[in-house]
């Protein structure tokens, strides 16, 4: 199933999402302990996540998930793959 989605054109990366826009998570990747931590914070596939802002100075991205606001480095947020709403 993951393979099929991997080829799907409906995948979005963090860089494709505008600030203020929400998207549904499709996959959580990255190194195991990072992935586990993200999932425990609520970044689970199927969850709706809002990209709050990009912090240009620090090169971070702020997400809202389950009422909490979490910032990740833009380079590390590539672990999150979203589903296009259309």
């Amino acid at each position: 199933m993951i393979l099929r989605l991997g080829l799907s054109p409906r995948m979005l990366h963090t860089s494709d999402i505008r600030p203020g826009q929400s998207a549904r998570l499709l996959q959580v990747g990255g190194e195991r302990s990072f992935r586990r931590r993200l999932m425990e914070l609520g970044f689970l596939p199927g969850t709706s996540v809002r990209l709050v802002r990009r912090v240009a100075v620090g090169d971070l991205v702020e997400f809202e998930v389950r009422g909490g606001h979490i910032s990740l480095r833009a380079s590390e947020a590539v672990a999150l793959v979203f589903e296009s709403s259309r």
Partner: protein
């Protein structure tokens, strides 16, 4: 863990233990402070540098309980030894006493994420009371939580509180009391149990391998700990308390599951969240308004153009306040100690004992206490920045710079603290997760311009550089001071960058930074933190500085030359008689002659003292930097604490009580000549001296703190060696380079 865990709790009545747990930023510490008041003790978790806050309180019905503040975590899963504390405190492992009850502080505005930890605790079969905090914030968003429905679904008491305003605390205390007398009402058993037979087989297999103190006769608890191990154990992790069999099986089972295409992590986490999500609708009546005010504030404070300037402005205000507000207090402390010293000197006859008390003991205590105003203020500012939520934004803004040095944004607070004093700054590295990150930060903190360097800079700049304006508007003296701050900061960054690419090379760890909403600080908590950190400074640094000052006094005063001593007593007697006479011009002239001879005796005494001999011994090594043996004596003195340099130079030049503003000391420095008649102190020597002070590791208490935090003498030795070498080379380059340039 099994080997060193304590015996089962003693039979008979003992004080029940209540652990306060919760996610970071939920108001957990505020609640802990409310419950225990001032009845608190800060200690250390064994083997880990994490503060362990514990306290006592009496419940409304008269029951006395112990309260433990469990460090804030999002989950009980762990990878590092620090994170391991949460599971150990709640499950009663690794030498921690098992709590009779856990109070979980839950942020009502982030209910589902906070309930995740509630499920983990319930799986462990520990009685649980949920303190639902920040319901007032929720109400202001016209949202609400049905606490009764939540209590029904979780099967444990739920009490709405506002830790900040103190609402609902009595209710919570009564609930704690009821639950302690009847724990069954808060032990509903696990809410989530694995559905898949494969996962159940994994958990059972791992549970079978557990030692008895992990299982405690409960198969449910054993399965919960198995799930914990399955999520936590990693091939490279820093966990210490996991039995080998458990570790091996967890790794093996996870690998086997992965080979079958199963992700056990996701399965467990998803299972818990599915339980929560399917019931959220029954607890919460949402209205999607979110935290608009905080977000609006962040559009300014994290703005690409304004964010950084605002941050710099905030830091400038903090530093200006740090120096200008502390000044009156510092002066008051100095004059108080001077007054006490004079009082003692008047009361005791001239003797070695008197010198020891005034020059060793009182001066030593004074040189410790004089740092307190700046340290108190710095921790006040840090506390406010943290409590309002701005510090998370600072970590955001600083992350890119910190990353280039192999650190993350969290290293900023400790580095900032280093500008006041390295000792509390080194203690502040505990907020970082990895030991390697903490070590790296500790290796550069002592380069930050701490407040003890300031008196030295003030003395040198005041004595050797003209109070003129550069280009007609920029005061040379202030400019030099700013330059010294910039110099040390840039050097610290360079050293960190080099170390992170060589000795402390490590893969960069992904950053996960929570951005809490902005709120007003809880003043009692801020003040308590300020006092606790300052106390840590007094006990850590204070004792070392005091001991060194006393040792230094000994080095400067011994051995005594009987002939000089006798002559000194004669002169003192003459002064007394002359002062008793009317202040005739003749008496005044004779007094001046005697004063000159007294200074000469002091100089001779110094030369023959142990410190003087040491100064002579090291003179060849510091001569290329432009320093003579007298400066050498000052440098030796500065190893106790840098600002002791000023007082030591006062002794060296035979000036009684000298401080950095002292005109006589400045004068003496100005006049001091070498044997060939050249002045000892030129602006170039001054610059070389300041560079040396900026870089050399002349602080025993810093070394003691690093030893305590790293538990390694090797790092202490490295820190001392690299800083001293760096200082010597830099001063050499400055002095010899300056000479070549004809300065």
């Amino acid at each position: 863990m099994s080997a060193k865990s304590p015996a089962a709790p003693a039979a008979g009545p003992r004080t029940p233990l209540v652990a306060v747990a919760g996610n970071p930023n939920t108001g957990k510490t505020t609640l802990f402070n409310r419950l225990t008041g001032s009845d608190q003790k800060v200690a250390n978790y064994p083997g880990v540098t994490v503060d362990r806050h514990a306290g006592h309180m009496r419940l409304p019905g008269g029951l006395d309980i112990s309260v433990l503040d469990v460090p804030g975590t999002y989950s009980l899963s762990a990878r590092s030894r620090e994170e391991e504390i949460a599971i150990q405190s709640i499950a009663g492992l690794g030498g921690e006493a098992p709590p009779d009850l856990v109070v979980l502080v839950v942020d009502a505005t982030q209910l589902s994420r906070n309930l995740y930890m509630a499920l983990q605790i319930l799986e462990l079969e520990v009685p649980l009371v949920v303190a639902l905090n920040m319901t007032d914030v929720l109400e202001s968003r016209s949202e609400s939580i049905d606490a009764e429905a939540l209590a029904r679904e979780l099967g444990v008491p739920v009490v709405s509180i506002s830790a900040l305003k103190g609402a609902g605390i009595q209710e919570l205390e009564r609930s704690i009391e009821r639950t302690l007398t009847n724990p069954k009402t808060a032990l509903p058993g696990p809410r989530w149990t694995p559905e898949s037979t494969e996962l159940r087989a994994d958990l059972d297999r791992i549970a079978d391998s557990m030692p008895p103190d992990w299982i405690r006769g409960s198969p449910t608890r054993a399965r919960a700990l198995a799930a914990w191990a399955l999520l936590s154990v990693d091939a490279p992790d820093e966990l210490h308390g996991v039995p080998d069999a458990v570790r091996r099986l967890a790794l093996e089972r996870r690998a086997r599951a992965a080979a079958d295409g199963r992700q056990v992590d996701a399965e467990i986490i998803r299972g818990r969240y599915d339980w929560i999500d399917s019931r959220m609708g029954t607890f919460v009546r949402p209205s999607r308004r979110g935290r608009e005010r905080s977000e609006r504030a962040d559009t300014v404070l994290l703005n690409p153009w304004l964010g950084f300037p605002i941050f710099l402005a905030t830091m400038s205000v903090v530093f200006l306040a740090l120096f200008s507000w502390s000044e009156p207090a510092i002066h008051a402390i100095e004059s108080t100690f001077g007054w006490v010293s004079d009082l003692v000197r008047g009361a005791m006859g001239p003797s070695i004992a008197r010198d020891f008390v005034t020059e060793g003991l009182i001066a030593g205590v004074g040189s410790v206490v004089v740092f307190l105003p700046q340290i108190l203020l710095l921790f006040l500012f840090i506390g406010v920045l943290e409590d309002t939520g701005y510090m998370a934004r600072v970590a955001c803004l600083m992350d890119r710079i910190m990353r280039s040095m192999g650190l993350n944004g969290r290293a900023f607070v400790p580095m900032l603290s280093g500008y006041a004093c390295a000792v509390p700054a080194i203690l502040a590295t505990r907020t970082m997760e990895r030991q390697r990150d903490r070590t790296l930060t500790m290796m550069v903190i002592p380069l930050m311009t701490c407040s003890a360097r300031l008196p030295v800079y003030t003395l040198v700049i005041g004595a050797l550089f003209p109070p003129t304006m550069l280009l007609g508007f920029a005061p040379v003296q202030s400019l030099l001071l700013v330059l010294m701050y910039l110099f040390s900061t840039v050097l610290a960054l360079i050293v960190a960058a080099v170390l992170s690419r060589t000795m402390l090379k490590a893969p960069s760890v992904p950053l996960i930074l929570e951005m809490p909403p902005y709120r007003m600080p809880h003043w009692p908590s801020v003040l308590r933190q300020m006092v606790q950190k300052s106390r840590a400074f007094l006990s850590e640094a204070g004792s070392v500085i005091l001991l060194c000052t006393i040792a230094l006094w000994g080095l400067l005063s011994f051995p005594k030359d009987p002939g000089l001593e006798a002559r000194r007593d004669v002169l003192a007697a003459q002064v007394a008689t002359l002062e008793a006479e009317a202040s005739t011009p003749d008496a005044q002239a004779r007094l001046d002659v005697i004063a000159a001879e007294q200074a000469d005796i002091a100089g001779q005494q110094l030369r023959s003292s142990y410190a003087g001999r040491l100064g002579h011994a090291i003179e060849p090594t510091i001569e290329p930097l432009g320093f003579d043996w007298k400066i050498g004596v000052g440098l030796i003195g500065a190893f106790a604490a840098r600002e002791v340099f000023v007082a030591t130079m006062g002794v060296v030049y035979g000036i009684g009580d000298a401080d950095e503003e002292s005109a006589t000391l400045r004068d003496q420095i100005h006049k001091e000549k070498r044997a060939n008649g050249e002045p000892v102190y030129t602006p170039l020597v001054g610059l070389s001296l300041m560079v040396f002070f900026a870089l050399a590791c002349q602080c025993m208490s810093t070394l003691a703190a690093v030893r305590r935090e790293t538990k390694s003498w090797a790092w202490v030795a490295f820190l001392f060696a690299y800083m001293t070498a760096l200082a010597w080379v830099a001063s050499f380059v400055v002095y010899q380079g300056g000479r070549l340039a004809g300065l």
